[in-house]
Subunit: 360 residues, 2 copies
Amino acid sequence: MKLPHAINCYFALMLFSAAAPAFAQELARSITGSAEQAREKHLKMQTRKFGLVVHGGAGTIKRSNMTPEREREYRTGLERALSAGYEILKRGGSSLDATEAAVRVMEDDPHFNAGKGAVFTSAGTNELDAAIMDGKNLKAGAVAAIKHIKNPVNLARLVMEKSGHVMMDGEGAEAFAQESGVELLPDQKYFFTQERWDALQKIKAAEKHRTGQAGKEFVITDQDRHGTVGAVALDQNGDLAAATSTGGTTNKRPGRVGDSPIIGAGTYANNATCAVSATGDGEYFIRATVGHDVSALMEYRGMSLKEAAQTVLDKVARLGGTGGLIAIDHRGNIALPFNTSGMYRGYVDPNGKFVVEIYK
Amino acid sequence: MKLPHAINCYFALMLFSAAAPAFAQELARSITGSAEQAREKHLKMQTRKFGLVVHGGAGTIKRSNMTPEREREYRTGLERALSAGYEILKRGGSSLDATEAAVRVMEDDPHFNAGKGAVFTSAGTNELDAAIMDGKNLKAGAVAAIKHIKNPVNLARLVMEKSGHVMMDGEGAEAFAQESGVELLPDQKYFFTQERWDALQKIKAAEKHRTGQAGKEFVITDQDRHGTVGAVALDQNGDLAAATSTGGTTNKRPGRVGDSPIIGAGTYANNATCAVSATGDGEYFIRATVGHDVSALMEYRGMSLKEAAQTVLDKVARLGGTGGLIAIDHRGNIALPFNTSGMYRGYVDPNGKFVVEIYK
């Protein structure tokens, strides 16, 4: 079975083929047709691939700071996310469902900065952003600065499907959630993790030290700055989707909105090109319109997914931003570039095996 | 003086040249140099144009619904906005200052749906969005769903320059405003206009009639749906900027964020290409990543500003959205396409004369 795009692209093998038996059947049927028809059907079957990539944030992730146990916990979290999405794709489900399911798993995992485990704002609160986009019809849903919802990605999906809007924020988004039957948490205790709380205290102490008691300058270490979860998928219908969720950046001002819920920046999907979910210094990713730029370079310049993804990440770096992104195109090629020392990431290889990586 | 781009582009005459005397001087000085050097300097002077375009929203604007007095009021509002921006550009000020000033004038004018005169949400409140972007360095600031600030565009600029963030929303944005010395309104009375209130009542009545007492389906007429103000400018340094401000859509759910504060959608500026401010069905403009797409078509496909702007607006229409946009490129060409019956709009012609138009 010839897979030219798998040879052309470094990451092209990162997809799983469910087409082989169906292809044999289809070929048999096509014996009655012309050679040309058979070839066309063959090509059509070849594209019936599905693929899934997830990330759990990019940043200063060093082996020296990691215990074997902790590393195992992260790996398990990423594998669980892959599993949730993979099961859906394997049985012919949509990329939209798969990305939502994968992100939800990571939102529920306290290791990642999204949902349970979200970082703290400078006011000691948690404010969550999320988005989801359907590459088939460019429909999208996003929520920003919400405080009492366990799974922002589900609310983003609901905004897309039921609100008549694309983006909703704050109390308005939560009122819509309640009206739609989504449980609101009575307070923010659910989001508390000691580790994130300690990170905020550490930053606040550094801030005091650096600027004196009166100063208000931001001091955020690279380690604490990054953290987002995301998933991109191609389903058996050839539809692409992307979903992203985050608690934002530690010590952010209340009300700060990052790139994750910005359609075209942290989250983007378009069947004509690719699906993208980003993680990093959100401000730079917004200014570089990361998701749509990857898509535009493919569509208008004819770049491969890998080339487009790297080109855009390099633009972010030139602006001064660090981070990474995951992307998948309509052929199932994937790209996972990042310019930090690590990015929690995973994908499913052509044999259905889960590949999980953390460091460079 | 040869102006090839003025001939090539339909809108190219909509700029004002301050270069002629300086050019003669420059040419005289260049006599000592080579012919090639003189030509290069000539070209450089040619590009020292500045331009300004403003809009006050697109929608179903018909002569039959307009009194001469009302039309005069709109025209005066647009001229005042042009004047505010023009004065800055003429004396060598930045496009960033010019767009901010032009938008602020329209925010203060109750005829336009931004600042004073903002439409009402379904809860009878006012929630304002705004953004500003500097094409020189891709810096940007945006605010969403704010309730107690007279001039959201000024706050967007402050977010860009002082917050360390790009986008802030709701109470968090207002807390930052207060901390920065911006006056917070004690309540929302300032935003009240009888006309906008009546529009909300009309929509609510239509909603009741159409869906029965219990129904919650959205019923929004085209007339009430649109309304945004915006400005794009090129200054004498060759820097582009865009600014947009809006009250959103009448009867929107509280918390709804439109395209205006989304960098890359309703607002975008990049010295390499163009500056864009959009108005229309915000949800569709977000999904189409309007501002960045105009830029990408110019940068990656080599389209003219006019062609790129129309191409993107056509994409919005195919998704089902109506509205318009204003754009200016780094040569001073402008475009003002819209697919509604009218768009409040204005620009300054090459002689410094203000041109204001409303209908198709």
